[in-house]
């Protein structure tokens, strides 16, 4: 690994000829394109819960997610950003974000080519700067929210994958990237998002038998993707 000493470790992925790096934070970095891709931010989750009559929480989780995103943008010096869908907890949440958070997002966008991919939670355009696309093709890679069958060089999110590893000190679960030779699925980047075990359907069906999971954390760690029945 040729990263500078101070930089946190990354894990290299080759997908359809593109050289990518999985960051421990759950973001994907494509150095050749200076492109940072994150998925499932679910901004405004607490605001939406309040609107739906659930418990009313101060919407600080948005700030937490944005703080981590700002750090990744800073660290990589990205000039392009792709948010892979479900960036907002629903279409209204985008409009209901507090002014300070909207300003912050605008600041992060400044000087960057920013694309919002539509997700199932936030279909259609949203009232913030940046391009809005259903999906996007860059070189050999296709960026979309939900994985499609038979796709090649596809980068998607949606499932919030997590992987569980059994060590001699018990099981450890982490959000994880899933990658095989045709596609890459990103973990959820947002604070307070749940997760789907990569051993369960439909993830175990989507990914090829030789898929690996890359656990997020201090150091991103690759492991053969755990599957159901493997204990």
């Amino acid at each position: 690994m040729n990263t500078p000493i101070a930089a946190p470790p990354v894990h290299h992925i080759a997908l359809a000829g593109a050289e990518l790096s999985a960051l421990g934070s759950g973001a994907l970095w494509w150095p050749a394109e200076r492109l940072l891709c994150i998925s499932d931010l679910h901004l405004g989750k607490s605001e939406r819960m309040a609107r739906r009559g659930g418990s009313t929480l101060p919407p600080y989780e948005t700030q937490d997610t944005l703080t981590r995103l700002a750090a990744d943008l800073d660290r990589t010096g990205a000039s392009r950003v792709i948010c892979l869908g479900d960036s907002f907890d629903d279409a209204e949440a985008a409009g209901a974000l507090p002014e300070a958070d909207r300003l912050w997002i605008t600041q992060l966008q400044a000087g960057r080519d920013w694309t919002w991919i539509e997700g199932n939670h936030d279909p259609g355009p949203i009232a913030l700067g940046g391009a809005h696309r259903a999906e996007m093709q860059i070189g050999p890679l296709t960026f979309r929210h939900i994985a499609t069958e038979g796709a090649q060089g596809e980068v998607s999110g949606h499932y919030h994958p997590k992987a569980r590893i059994r060590t001699r000190a018990g099981r450890i679960a982490r959000p994880a990237f899933l990658v095989d030779d045709t596609r890459l699925i990103l973990p959820a980047y947002g604070t307070y998002t749940g997760g789907l075990d990569c051993g369960s359907a439909p993830l175990s069906g989507i990914m090829n038998p030789n898929a690996i999971a890359i656990l997020t954390g201090r150091t991103p760690l690759p492991v053969p993707m755990p599957r159901q029945g493997v204990k």
Binding site: L57, P58, Y60, E61, I165, I172, P222, V223, P224
Partner: protein, 804 residues
């Protein structure tokens, strides 16, 4: 000396009773503003408390509330109603007595407010609620006396602080109000007197004859107690023998789970089919009432119980108390022993049953302390501010208030005698705005000031929500357990939500002595069927554990120092001698730390003797320090006397681990992330009204409340670290679950006198810790190391490593 009214005098005479000296003295002091009576169970305490009321009402039977009786238990209120009605009816006094608790119907409650009885029997929570109504002044008009039963029990918790704030309010409404406290034997009566009296009124302390010394022994059986655990299953046969030899036996346990398991084992061995019941706080009320009634009728030979039978309900002819497990606290032991021979002037008989080998030592220390009348107890410190916040909101519900007047009223409550104006203003600001970080959120803006500077509710409708959340009892969130509808839907009791969440259909567990099968969850109720399995798959729910008191810990260390094994059975003496040969015995004023490898891991055993909660906290803090210094700890387990830590690397220098400043920093920084801190925060935030457990629409489920309180906690820590509720949380962390105060006490006790002993294997005293349940894993560099190790092994094995 005034005379008793004639009819009362006559009643005593026709019964052939004479008035106890302490009853007479209470009567003579009836005009005092506050009086505390210390009397053993069965000492005619209730009559002593009510005699002045009966006399005053006999002389002047005017309408309206005369005396308020407050007890910690609903059942006690009902019990007193029965016991008091007998003399009142027989004397022929025109006195109306009624009780008011959470179980009272709404119609009766309404009637009580409009037309109160002469004597109203209630609980602190129901009283606080009564004071929150706009018509409180009318309800309490003419109130003369308040009698607080079992005040020693209330004084140990925030329920007592709540009660004293409510009394301060009553005193404002009824300036002539006189206060009486009835207490069991306690270590420091003057502390309770200070709580009871309006500050700075004097409070006389009367002490009844304590009766003959109790007869206490420790059970010795041919079977040796096990090395760890709390079940005491080895003692079942001996306990059944004791039950056979006595009329009625109470079998006390420290936790509900242990009571359930013991009861189950008792039934399996109960070949004579002795009638034995079970009673604890998680059982359904109907179930408990059935057991209580059977006891009063004398139908039962024994009851397996927990603290739910600690307090003064008269259960008839109990002639033996058995305590299973070390009593952890001498005061509680003495009070439990008092349950036997609930007849004045007969010695109580009690048997202690240690549940494991170390508890043998603890039981002997407790016996010595009980015989020496050396009770223990930790002073509680000033009244907590979360309760004060709740009462500011309660005051606002009853009508607009002047801040100055309310401050003086609250500072007259014993627990708040030291309250500063700045502290009060802090609480008032919190109630009004929610505090700095939350000031932008409408729902936390609850109070505002009128043009006349009086404070009132911003939205009058919020009174309903505030009233719904009155109280300080933080029961862990529980779910009701019922038999399936097709099986009659009989309610069985409650289990903790976390326990319910761990169940999958088909799992079996114990409740109310029955083995049941978990079928599913329906509308927040756990549905079960009866199951004939002989052994439950899952033991049972958890329940809280007590910490061994400071006094008992000191006594154990003293026993070690003297190497005086005279009170110990041979097997325990041999065990301790072996420890002394192989390593050392822990010494008072020093800290013994053992280091040894075992089973591929490095271990560190720290004999801190600071009680379970503090040792648990110490485990968290020390593993954090080990993490920082690169020792990769993996986990720990704590008991009352030691904490055992395991990890990947040996520790050779322990002195830096016990640096007081570093530990304090750890508490403030890292412990802040800990679940126990979050739990502490949740309790205070709920009491102070920041989190509402009950809303008009529906009760918030425990998990929802946990979720939102955890987020609130993180939020406030990040954006408003000096928020009032966080300051209260840090204060609370000195005792209770975090119990940092006892770590401080331990550090002072040991100074720099730390003995690190390196051994090549497990020591006798450390061995039982390997069998303890409740292991806490540590997630840190060891986890990263293990994950890295495991993932690279998996990558190599699968051959995928060569592909990427």
């Amino acid at each position: 000396m005034a005379d008793l009214p004639r009819p009362i005098e006559d009643w005593f005479r026709t019964r052939g009773w004479s008035i106890h000296p302490h009853q007479r003295e209470m009567f003579d002091r009836a005009g005092d503003p506050a009086t505390l009576l210390i009397a053993p169970t069965g000492g005619g305490k209730t009559m002593a408390g009510f005699l002045p009321t009966l006399a005053e009402l006999a002389d002047n039977p005017r309408p309206g509330l005369h005396t308020l009786y407050v007890s910690p238990l609903k059942a006690l209120a009902a019990d007193i109603k029965r016991n008091l009605s007998t003399p009142v009816d027989e004397i022929g006094l025109p006195i109306r007595i009624d009780d008011r608790t959470g179980d009272t119907t709404a119609t009766r409650k309404k009637a009580q407010r409009a037309d109160p009885p002469h004597i109203l029997l209630t609980t602190p929570e129901s009283l606080a609620l009564l004071t929150s109504y706009e018509d409180a002044a009318r309800t309490f008009a003419g109130l003369q006396r308040v009698v607080i039963d079992e005040i020693h029990a209330l004084a140990e918790s925030k329920r007592g602080d709540q009660l004293m704030l409510a009394l301060a309010r009553l005193q404002t409404l009824c300036p002539g109000l006189r206060r009486v406290g009835l207490s069991a034997t306690v270590e420091d009566p003057s502390a309770i007197a200070r709580l009871l009296a309006r500050h700075p009124d004097p409070c006389a302390i009367l002490t009844a004859d304590p009766g003959p010394a109790p007869d206490i022994t420790m059970l010795e059986t041919p079977e040796r107690p096990p090395w760890s655990g709390g079940g005491a299953a080895y003692s079942i046969a001996a306990v059944l023998d004791l039950v056979r030899q006595h009329r009625i036996t109470l079998i006390f346990h420290n936790t509900r789970a242990q009571a359930e398991i013991f009861f189950h084992n008792l039934w399996l061995a109960n070949d004579d089919a002795l009638p034995i019941g079970i009673h604890h706080g998680s059982l359904d009320r109907q179930q408990r009432e059935k057991v209580e009634a059977a006891m009063v009728r004398g139908d039962l030979r024994a009851v397996v119980c927990t603290g739910s039978l600690d307090l003064g309900i008269d259960w008839g002819d109990v002639d033996l108390v058995i305590q299973i497990g070390a009593p952890k606290n001498v005061k509680r032991l003495v009070q439990r022993i008092g349950r036997a021979n609930h007849r004045y002037n007969a010695p109580s008989k009690a048997v202690l049953v240690p549940a494991n080998r170390f508890e043998v030592v603890e039981c002997v220390a407790a016996l010595d302390a009980a015989r020496a009348h050396a009770l223990d107890g930790d002073p509680r410190g000033p009244g907590p501010l979360d309760v004060l916040c709740q009462h500011i909101l309660i005051a606002a519900c009853s009508g607009p208030f002047d801040a100055n007047e309310l401050f003086h009223e609250m500072a007259s409550a014993g627990p708040y005698a030291g309250l500063s104006r700045a502290q009060f203003d802090d609480c008032l600001d919190f109630c009004a705005t929610g505090g700095y970080a939350l000031r932008a959120y409408d729902r936390y803006q609850r109070l505002m000031q009128n043009a006349d500077r009086r404070w009132h509710l911003r939205d009058p409708r919020s009174a309903q929500r505030i009233r719904m959340n009155i109280g300080t009892i933080q029961d862990t969130d529980t779910l009701k357990v019922r038999l399936r509808r097709s099986r009659g839907a009989k309610p069985l009791g409650e289990v903790e939500e976390a326990f319910a969440a761990s169940l999958t259909p088909g799992d079996t567990f114990l409740i109310g002595g029955e083995i049941v099968r978990y079928e599913g969850l329906r509308e927040m109720t756990v549905e079960v069927t009866r199951n004939a399995a002989r052994k439950p798959k899952i033991a049972t729910f958890m329940g809280s554990k007590f910490s061994t008191s400071t006094q008992l810990s000191t006594r154990i260390l003293d026993m070690f120092a003297a190497r005086d094994w005279s009170g110990l059975p041979g097997h325990t003496a041999e065990w301790l001698d072996l420890q002394a040969d192989v390593s050392q015995l822990p010494k008072a004023g020093r800290l013994l730390v053992e280091s040894f490898p075992h089973d591929g891991r490095e271990h560190l055993c720290i004999y801190g003797f600071a009680g379970r909660n503090a040792m648990q906290t110490l485990g968290l803090l020390i593993t954090k320090r080990l993490e920082e210094t690169g020792h990769s700890p993996l986990g720990f387990v704590a008991t009352d006397y030691a904490v055992l830590i395991w990890g990947l690397d040996p520790v050779t220098d322990v002195a830096p681990l016990f640096d007081a400043n570093a530990l304090r920093q750890g508490r403030d920084a890292w412990l802040a992330e800990n679940m126990m801190m979050k739990k502490t925060f949740r309790a205070s935030a709920t009491i102070a009204g920041l989190i509402e457990r009950n809303t008009p629409s529906a009760r918030k489920s425990g998990r929802q409340a946990t979720f939102s309180s955890d987020i609130l906690y993180d939020t406030l820590r990040k954006y408003d670290p000096d928020h009032l509720i966080l300051r209260i949380t840090r204060q609370e962390a000195l005792r209770g679950m975090v119990d940092f105060g006892r770590i401080e006490e331990m550090l002072t006790r040991i100074g720099t006198r730390i003995d690190l002993v390196r051994l090549d294997r497990v020591t006798p005293l450390a061995a039982p810790l390997f069998l303890e349940v409740g292991r806490v894993p540590v997630r840190g560099s060891a986890e990263e190391r293990l994950l890295a190790e495991e993932t690279s092994r998996l990558m190599e094995e699968s051959g995928l490593a060569n592909l990427t």
